[in-house]
Structures are given as C-alpha cells and as structure tokens.
C-alpha cells in the first residue's frame, strides 16, 4: 500500500483545479482579502484560459450577479468560492458568461463560466483566480498546491476533517 492509498484511507476530500494555469501561493495574490486568508485557505491559479469548471461534485450555492464569483457547497460540507480575477466585481458582468445557476447540482468538470481573460487583463485587472474554502475552520488539515502548471481537473487541494 502506497502513501496515496494511505491518504485515501484517511478520507481526504479532494478538490480539482477549476481552471488551467499556473499555481501560485495564495500569499502572493495582490489582494489582502485572499493573501491574508480572510475568506479562508485555498489556492490561486494564473489562468491560461477562461474556462472555469466545477472542482468537485456539489450544489451551486451562490452565483454573483456580476458573474465573477461562484460558490459551491459539497455533500461533505465544503463551502468553496471561486473568484475569477481581482476586483473584477467592478466589471459588473462584462467579459463574463456564466453557465451555472444557483441551486444547480454540478459534477466535477462541468463548465461553470467562461471569462474572457484577455479582455479582463486588457481592462487593467489581474486575472489570478483564487479558490477558497470559506469554512476552513471546519477542517483539521488543508493541503494546497502552491506551484506548477495544472490542467483543469488536476488535484490541487486535499482537506481532512
């Protein structure tokens, strides 16, 4: 039995990357709301494209009217927030096409939204995309990937109760 099996035995909850790109430490995100983990622990990805997929099976708990952020709650009780870009609430929906709807059941890999990251960048916004566990206190251990390229669907967070 390898280490991975052992970890599986511990029933860690695995979350996938919502978008393709480069992982950076959350502490390097240029917004203290995320960098100082005010919203919770998590990862940050510099997106290579704007297709944002469900990182886990769950229910869409929040879709911001502006389309820049989506909340998902899993059956294990993980409350996740995916926030595309920094300060992008100011764009008021421009360059965002949201596919997911509130209360909708989603599966890992379902397309949630499409963001035009080139246009968002051109408009002067940082497109780095944090994915945060809002109820981090509910977990004993949260392990986050902090570097390297990922494809949407690659494992980036493991949390243990």
């Amino acid at each position: 039995m390898g280490l991975f099996d052992f970890m599986k035995g511990k029933k860690g909850i695995v979350l996938a990357a919502p978008v393709k790109g480069e992982c950076i430490p959350i502490s390097e995100v240029a917004d203290p709301t995320f960098a100082e983990e005010i919203l919770g622990k998590g990862i940050a990805i510099k997106p290579a494209d704007g297709k944002v997929y469900a990182p886990v099976d769950g229910v869409i708990s929040t879709v911001f009217p502006t389309g820049h952020a989506i909340g998902i709650t899993t059956s294990d009780g993980v409350e996740l927030l995916i926030h595309v870009g920094l300060d992008t609430v100011q764009l008021k929906g421009q360059h965002f096409n949201v596919i997911a709807k509130a209360d909708q059941q989603v599966k890992t890999g379902d397309l949630l939204l499409e963001a035009d990251v080139e246009e968002i960048s051109r408009a002067g916004y940082d497109t780095v995309t944090p994915m945060i566990i809002c109820n981090s206190d509910a977990f004993a251990k949260i392990e986050c990937k902090t570097e390297g390229m990922v494809n949407a669907g690659d494992e980036v967070i493991t949390c243990t109760k």
Binding site: L39, L81, C134
Partner: protein
Amino acid sequence: MKTFNYTINDELGIHARPAGLLVKLVSGYQSATTITKDGKEVDAKRIMGLMGLGATKGTVVTVKVEGPDEDEAVKAVEEFFKGNL
C-alpha cells in the same frame, strides 16, 4: 438583543471583500450576529451565507446581535456597515 436596519448604499453590495471583513469583525465578539434580507437569515460568521444574500445597492437588511457583548458588537457592526456598505 440589539437590532438595526440598514439600506445598502455601496454600489457593489456585500461581495467577497466586505463579506470577509465582516466575518473577521464579528468573529472578534462572543455575540451571535445575523443578517436578514427578505426573510432569509444568515449567520454573519459565514462567508458563503453573507454572499448568498445578494445584498446589492438599495437592499434593506436587518442586523441582529445577541450575546454578552452585544452593546459593543452592535456598535462595531453598525460602524462597519456605514463605513463599508
């Protein structure tokens, strides 16, 4: 128990940043704080709950604070709303 009503004045309403700051603020008090909008009540210590309210400009919310330090807490929360929302 202390309550007050507040009309959201900020154009963007309770989005990620103010929600995070509010959670941080109320977590510093023993009292329980809830925010109600259109009959939907959420715990102000829960980010996801706060953001799920969809409280945008013009929305009236009711803030309720209850606990041993409610006098202090309600003052701080009211100041937060006036300053940030």
